[in-house]
Symmetry: C2
Subunit: 363 residues, 2 copies
């Protein structure tokens, strides 16, 4: 076994999920994630945790959903009980075909998701972590050779997370203490209020309420957006490519929009509901192991020298107790490159210039 | 997909497990049983059952057990709750390596099994069915080419079970009404009392308390064995080949034993406890789709023109209410070929001669 797989398993169990002896762990194994599952099982055994492996197969799910034409039962008790009694759920992504459920209708998929909402909530109430085992299908989606993609995934994942968490904490402190963020870049001149908001240090550990491995972003919930922004990192949303999305904000709301590609999809997103025209998240990527876009949000939004803004729902963790953040059925991240001709300022002070933070030697 | 896999799935869901709309089904999927799992998911979806897939991987289990060197927790609640709330458990055997846990110590495996006894009982309290998807590893174990083994498995599994169940019921009636069985064959001259015992029609359906697919045997709990018996079908027990086991019974107990191979293992089995020297089962194979020995008890004991006797524990289903049958920690089946120079009689009347039952045309 590739030693990197063992290292991945150790980071997942120890740093990300913080698993201790006696913990009841559900291991959710994608069709192509077998090898990582074996490595994780070894670490879980060594740590004295309990293990139940669930098989997360797109092909099984497709066959089941296509054949099931009646109503779905709501939250069957046997599945609910599994997750409600679990301490941790480790989701090992690793599909063998990213189009594996392409011929299941959206209606059927959404009806099933609605019928399993309580189970999903039970799962999200555990110390869950989602990670990714490199497969050929995922390499193909990223436009990379398999070996190239494996190197990419491990560069992004096998970080010194403790050290990155400390660096990210510097940024968190600045954002927590600050009142206004300003982003300047070609096609971007945007002000955001962050007064009273709390930033989340998303360093791939449940200890910081961070549930993705890899991670490496600091995010908060902005308000009162004013100005314009261009998202020059292309991405696929609902099966369509969005390219060079340009938004103009007034009083926190999108008043103009355009895109070089995907404008219809963009319109549909913005018209979902009232909250869809407002921002729910400002995120700043800090993972220097991620050195290119792959059209996979798990990686792209954590890439160093980028910022992202999400249209739609805000995360409660960023809001003062009792304050409701922006609410919406959507949360769509859009990403801007800040590596050239760009500054990020807080209360008038530049904290990042051309992708370099002010505490870095090359600032 | 091979149409036989779909047919296998339908027999499993409809005939064997008798699954109805709304049933909560756990699908336990071996590493090599993916294709059958997809076919079963399709049938479950069509029938409106609920589905949770569990991944049953020897490689994961090996890694976990070898790394876990402390005590195992007893019946973790999250796993117990899954099975206790389930209606059916469908176990899809299909290993990719029959020696997959060869380097896990017996002590470790037994300690784990003891710690999960309650979960095992919860699973056995459901309408569980164990079946087998052909893999190259299982073909190799059977000494067959892969295609040959697939044909063998489907010949054994894709039967007209309704019709076989009716034929088996004839034999069940004879055994239920009878008092004494006599087996005559080369090296065998054995009498068994079956007075007051009830035969089980094991026709691969939970409706008849039969939990293996394929099946095809009628079995009961004999007493007072007297005489000698030779088991000429070789089989592997505890990793050792037993060949031509010869046992002499007096007053229901083994008083002499010999074997052409595996005598040490045979001695160890007989000395396990008091019940290990007595018989717990007489079974009569009736599946004419199984035409050769493969050293896999799931098939061998159901083969037509064979009888088998088990040393050790008897099944309660064969005993009158309140009567305790033979008790032992072991239940080891040994098989004798009755296709040549053999008769099987009940109360002095020949019911099978040279493998042919008295209701068959060629009797």
């Amino acid at each position: 076994m590739d030693e990197r797989i063992r290292e991945h398993a150790e980071i997942l169990v120890d740093w990300s999920a913080q698993i201790a002896a006696g913990d009841d762990v559900v291991l959710s194994v994608d069709e192509g994630a077998h090898e990582l599952a074996v490595a994780v099982a070894e670490v879980l055994g060594d740590r004295g945790a309990n293990l139940v492996s669930v098989y997360r197969s797109d092909e099984i799910q497709r066959a089941y959903l296509r054949a099931h034409d009646g109503d779905f039962d709501t939250d069957p008790e046997y599945e609910r009980a599994l997750y409600e009694n679990a301490d941790s759920v480790l989701v090992l992504g690793g599909t063998r075909n990213t189009a594996g459920t392409a011929d299941v209708s959206d209606d059927r998929q959404q009806a099933f998701a609605r019928a399993r909402r309580g189970i999903r909530e039970g799962r999200l109430a555990t110390d869950w972590v989602k990670t990714l085992h490199p497969t050929r299908a995922l390499a193909q989606q990223a436009g990379m050779a398999f070996e190239e993609f494996r190197n990419f995934v491990y560069d992004a994942t096998l970080r010194d997370w403790q050290s990155l968490a400390e660096e990210m904490d510097r940024l968190k402190t600045i954002l927590d203490d600050g009142s206004e963020v300003h982003i300047d870049a070609p096609g971007t001149d945007l002000s955001l209020s962050i007064e009273g908001r709390t930033a989340v240090n998303s360093a791939a550990s449940v200890a910081d309420d961070s549930h993705n491995l890899p991670s490496g972003e600091v995010f908060t919930a902005p308000a009162d957006a004013e100005g314009e922004v261009t998202f020059d990192v292309p991405m696929t949303v609902r099966g369509k490519t969005l390219r060079d999305v340009h938004l103009v904000f007034e009083d926190g709301e999108v008043v103009e929009c355009a895109a070089a590609a995907g404008e219809e999809t963009l319109d549909a997103l913005l018209n979902t509901d009232g909250g869809a025209r407002r921002l729910g998240e400002l995120g700043i990527g800090m993972n220097r192991g991620i050195d290119r876009y792959t059209d996979n949000i798990l990686f792209d939004e954590k890439m160093a020298e980028t910022v992202h803004l999400a249209l739609g729902r805000a995360y409660d963790a960023c809001l003062p107790d009792g304050e409701a953040g922006n609410d919406s059925a959507i949360h769509v991240d859009l990403i801007a490159d800040t590596s050239e001709d760009a500054t990020l300022s807080v209360d008038g002070e530049v904290i990042q210039r051309n992708g370099v933070f002010r505490w870095e030697d090359s600032f």
